[in-house]
Symmetry: C2
Subunit: 419 residues, 2 copies
């Protein structure tokens, strides 16, 4: 990435041109390219760590929080882990060329619907350099070019990573313009990316709810929304205590900072006496602060009174909100009001309530008697995760490589005309 007089638009047009050749690469060629990228990242670890040190120093000078500095930090082992993630992506089956539908019309015309690359995938994200490598590798595995716009806090790190990846492509005889960045163009680059309809085929924002909201609202390129998770667990009247306790504790504490962690528990009134004391105690002994309504506070000690904000909160921390509801209808109404449509689970022994919950909850993943932490591309067996879609168009829930492809109908005829 030498200093040039190109514009963000030029970069995107170069990516579009590169997408044409990358889209035609064989499975084998894409796999080799990704293995070469992994090697190149490892070989450049000194340069990458040095660039990262620049970003960290600038971050300290500009008051970047310790948590964000930690997300940003790369050392040699972390760089090696990035390279290994690329090798995992290389090992996944090629999603391009899958036959999704076949028809033969009565006139003999055959129609085949096949999976094809999108073309150019754009991504706007924040200060996590792993996303740079992750999205570029996933996009390339599915035959796409990629245009990246990372957070300015990671600009030097991202530039070093992109330089290594482009070098690897070039050495493999693949157009390096298939991996592009518009980072140098700052906010203007992001804006052009959001309005590059006809050049960029799909845009995947990754980061805070605010970033995603901005991209969804401003972009005229089609967006796949990967969203926040205000995730609910309902403890039905018939819930087993063991399952209720184990699942709530797991869903909250196993990794509190991620979108599939539980944020709110709704307890059926008929089970409140039985379940709330042990569930709250188990949470508290795992270090969780319980924010509860008066009915919860009456049944357990150390409960912080919940305010209206708690029901809408995606804590992403060792906090949880618990309320007592009169029945399943009230639980469903609460979920309709506060859920971000990511994942909800019910703990119940009642098959009628289980099926009703599955049918009526309008979320990407709806569970019975399981931890919400399973909403994850790796857990679902996709091998890699592009993100978790909380919208209903194109992809919903964990997205794998297949979701980075579009389709095309191929029609093969012998002179057919329409009557």
């Amino acid at each position: 990435m030498t200093a040039t007089t190109t514009t963000a638009r030029d970069r995107m047009l170069s990516a579009q041109a590169a997408a044409r050749t990358v889209g035609l690469l064989s499975d084998e060629a894409k796999r080799s390219a990704l293995l070469a990228i992994a090697d190149a990242i490892e070989a450049a670890d000194g340069e990458i760590v040095a660039a990262n040190a620049e970003d960290l120093e600038r971050g300290r000078a500009t008051g970047l929080s310790d948590a964000l500095q930690d997300r940003l930090r790369l050392d040699a082992p972390r760089v090696a882990a990035l390279a290994d993630a690329v090798r995992d992506i290389a090992a996944l089956p090629d999603p391009v060329g899958r036959v999704l539908d076949e028809r033969t019309l009565t006139n003999g015309l055959t129609l085949t619907k096949v999976a094809v690359p999108f073309g150019v995938v754009g991504s706007i994200y924040e200060a996590r350099p792993n996303v740079t490598v992750d999205i570029a590798s996933l996009a390339l595995r599915a035959g796409n070019a990629v245009v990246l716009r990372g957070g300015s806090a990671a600009e030097s790190t991202n530039a070093a990573l992109i330089r290594a990846m482009r070098g690897a492509l070039e050495a493999q005889g693949i157009d390096p313009e298939a991996i592009q960045t518009v980072d140098e163009f700052g906010r203007d680059g992001a804006r052009e990316l959001m309005h590059a309809r006809g050049v960029v085929d799909v845009l995947v924002p990754r980061g805070s709810a605010q970033l995603i909201e901005t991209v969804v609202t401003e972009s005229s390129v089609p967006v796949i929304e990967t969203g926040a998770g205000v995730v609910h667990i309902v403890l039905d009247a018939s819930a087993s205590l063991d399952w209720a306790r184990d699942i709530v504790v797991n869903a909250k504490t196993q990794r509190p900072s991620v979108c599939n962690a539980a944020e709110t528990v709704l307890v059926h009134r008929d089970a409140a006496d039985r379940l709330i004391p042990p569930v709250v105690a188990a949470l508290q002994s795992s270090g969780v602060t319980v924010h509860g309504d008066p009915a919860v506070a009456a049944l357990a000690s150390g409960v912080v009174p919940a305010t209206d904000d708690d029901w809408a909160a995606e804590y992403l921390s060792l906090d949880i909100a618990i309320a007592v509801v009169d029945d399943l209808d009230e639980a469903l109404a609460h979920i309709r009001r506060y859920s971000t449509k990511h994942t909800e689970s019910i703990i119940t022994d009642d098959p009628v309530n289980a099926e009703r919950f599955l049918a009526e909850v309008d979320s990407a993943v709806v569970m019975v008697n399981a931890s919400t932490r399973f909403t994850d591309g790796g857990e679902f067996g996709f091998g890699a995760e592009v993100g978790i879609s909380t919208q209903k168009l194109h992809a919903r829930g964990p997205m794998g490589l297949a979701e980075l492809t579009s389709t095309k109908w191929l029609a093969r005829g012998a002179g057919q005309v329409r009557a």
Copy 2:
């Protein structure tokens, strides 16, 4: 539709509430509802034709073109045809509940990906009252509520049609709020519909390229773009004369006003002498005006010189542009530049060129030796067509009922937690 003090937002929220019950209706209940709608439309034909007469009179007074008046006009036989189209939609299989993927994790958790209704489908369209009935019926067949914004030129007609449809729902015990209009709110209604993210799940614009452009650019609700067709046919060096002539004439003249009609023909230089004179003559004898480059004009009489505008034109009329290209590469470059990515076809006897065309042309439907007029939901066997998507997200090419559904993952466990 009585005059009320509700707002466009209220209407959409009512549709969202109705979507919850409509989404749970059985196949049988949805079918009965559609048959009742068909009957109600026929029974109200007097009222509908009278309302249409008001629109036509206003149209004449405001200088609506004869062509648009004809599109707008309904008489009793046309109303009966609308009702029959609803019966056809009722007869289609229910797209909801299809199992699209199933997995069992090693811990025993079962995952089922099922087709579910979107929820609320919005549509913004122009002065064709048939779209009102068509979109509402298709949306309902797939378990969705619908919010309609038709052209102001058809406002009285649409109101009468919507009144009949809502009455039929009510008589069937189904929430009539599942069919909504924001027509009374004029441009503000359209604007609110485009920004109703979180309430309206998907927006399908239908109409002119300008209308679609406005909706795609302005909307923050996810849009399915149904686009214009600057459709190309390539006559390769090896093209059979019979197929070339029959397919070009069929693709241009069988119904020139629709998006899958051919607009440009690109002829390989090595076949120009052989193909251009008879193809041009056949087109001209079918009443087509041929706009050609100098090489075409040198080989046939009556050719109008083509300008740059001709290559980008979606004529939708008995006009066609013809150019001579040096080879397949030049044809592909021309298509990349001017195609709207709807449908392209190559006429060839060369299997290598055929497969190259299928692989490299980035359009929703890519054909070999067939008329582009086959790009159609009815012809593809979908039974009905929501539109033809020219975008790559969610749906590409002719959209049937399946494209009016989203998906949901159902997870059924027995206490599984994540390790």
